[in-house]
Amino acid sequence: MNDTAAPLIDVVGLEAYYGRRRILHGVDFSVRRGEIRVIMGGSGSGKSTLLRHIIGLQRPVSGMVKILGVDVGRASAQELLTVRRRLGVSFQGGALITSMSVGDNVALPLREHTQLDETTVRIMSRLKLEFVNLGGFHDLMPSQLSGGMIKRAALARAIVMDPELLFFDEPSAGLDPVVSAELDELILRLRDALRMTIVVVTHELESAFRIADRITVLDQGDVLTTGTVAEVHASENERIQDLLNRRPRTVEVDVDAYLRRLTEEDA
């Protein structure tokens, strides 16, 4: 419909602080329906902070975050809970509830938000487990799963309500190349088969280039660029090229600030 008119995610001038440290500097970010957007950046670039703001875990200090048409900063707790049912989030560590079996974890959103009977819930949650190639694992506890399996189970839980928007925090962190390639395939299948809009936060270049429709590169709280894979490759921005070519950053030291950090009592 009006895809270009109303982006699913619309972030304007977002600022974020941890204490006195500014993490995000007036970030603008918007995602259209049906695309896979990768937020890429080194550690400390603010990408996780941006994600936390988009999914409403942190309220913006200044700037606006709009998701599926709801202004996260102004929404009531109730509105926020309602909009969250339309999105799925797969956390970096999986964040499966450790006291529940894998099957119960995946079924949890269905049990909490729908009136479906137990048989339907079971079938639907097992379908999603099959989709992420974890068929037959529903009786295991999260502690019995490997890292890759936990990520896939978390993905199954994130998509069990068929969300319009899926967030994936560091899908390949700590996984071997084969498993992370499999996860990339899964993400592509999700867009193609289930028509989801997907936002992936990652620092893995290879995976980012494989799955992304467009990439947003964050560095030290600034959006350096947003563009297709080719555009990012062709970018002349030095910091982007540093990131692409794994060059160590040259840190410029501000002598005054350096001395102040060393000597100040309650920095």
Binding site: L57, L81, R84, R85, I97, T98, E112, R157
Partner: protein, 266 residues
């Protein structure tokens, strides 16, 4: 000199602010839980009966053996002390009254409270703390499941229901312990001892203990979950929060008990 004083004042101010902050946060959690119990269903955030029952089992039913054992022992010990002291005045027959009143008003509920604080207050803090650390609390939130509704409200209701019940059980066990020791000393049967106890107890004595148990239930739950939610710093943080929850809730219980006893016995 001036500098140190200022720094001390500064620290005192900060600590005070933090304490006020913590109390406000805890009160907020409490209010929110009750809101979910009353109006959660209307907003698609029902507090589930199964969750409450499960919590009741954990905080209540599972604690029964240890509550009975400790209460029985304390009752027996009270009887020993009272008989020893009262016989100096030749008033050992008053032990029935002394035990009955002190157990129902004070010791039954206090033992129960301290035990439950140690068992369940720490469990709340550890569970919620480790869930915060592993982002499970965040995950609940982004699934549209309010963590307070899902984790806190059932625990609170379970505590409010089970602590009074445990207190009654504790009263029984303590008085029975006292009866077993005292009745041979007083040349009466255990049965007579118990009938005498019943005739000397007024409903008010029992209510005093029960009203305290409600307050203790609120304190233990809210301190446990609030410290749990505020965990930072990984596994070590969870450990620290657990200790903190137990120490704080036992302190709060004892202080609240004193305040209550003071006002109820004026």
């Amino acid at each position: 000199m001036m500098d140190t004083a200022l720094r001390l004042l500064n620290r005192l101010g900060r600590r005070t602010m933090m304490a006020v902050d913590a109390v406000g946060y805890a009160a907020g959690l409490l209010g929110e839980s009750f809101r979910f119990v009353v109006a959660g269903r209307r907003h698609g955030q029902p507090v589930r009966m199964t969750a409450i029952v499960e919590q009741m089992r954990q905080v209540g039913a599972d604690a029964i053996p240890i509550v009975l054992l400790l209460s029985f022992t304390v009752g027996l010990m009270l009887a020993i002390q009272f008989i020893a002291t009262l016989s100096e005045f030749g008033a050992q027959s008053q032990v029935v009254l002394a035990v009955a009143k002190s157990v129902t008003r004070e010791f039954g509920v206090l033992i129960t409270g301290i035990l439950v604080a140690g068992r369940s207050g720490s469990a709340f803090a550890a569970r919620i703390g480790s869930m915060s650390v592993s982002q499970e609390v965040d995950a609940l939130g982004v699934m549209g499941i309010d963590p307070v509704r899902y984790l806190v409200a059932p625990a609170l209701i379970a505590m409010l229901l089970m602590l009074p019940i445990l207190t009654i059980l504790s009263d029984f066990a303590a008085i029975l312990g006292a009866a077993l020791y005292s009745s041979p000393m007083l040349d009466m049967s255990v049965q007579t001892y118990l009938t005498q106890t019943l005739s000397q107890l007024t409903p008010r004595d029992v209510y005093e203990g029960l009203s305290k148990s409600i307050v203790f239930a609120l304190l233990i739950t809210v301190i446990g979950v609030a410290t749990g939610f505020s965990v930072t710093g990984g596994a070590e943080g969870v450990g620290r929060a657990t200790t903190r929850a137990v120490v704080l809730s036992i302190t709060a219980i004892v202080l609240a008990d004193m305040v209550f006893s003071f006002f109820l016995n004026r």
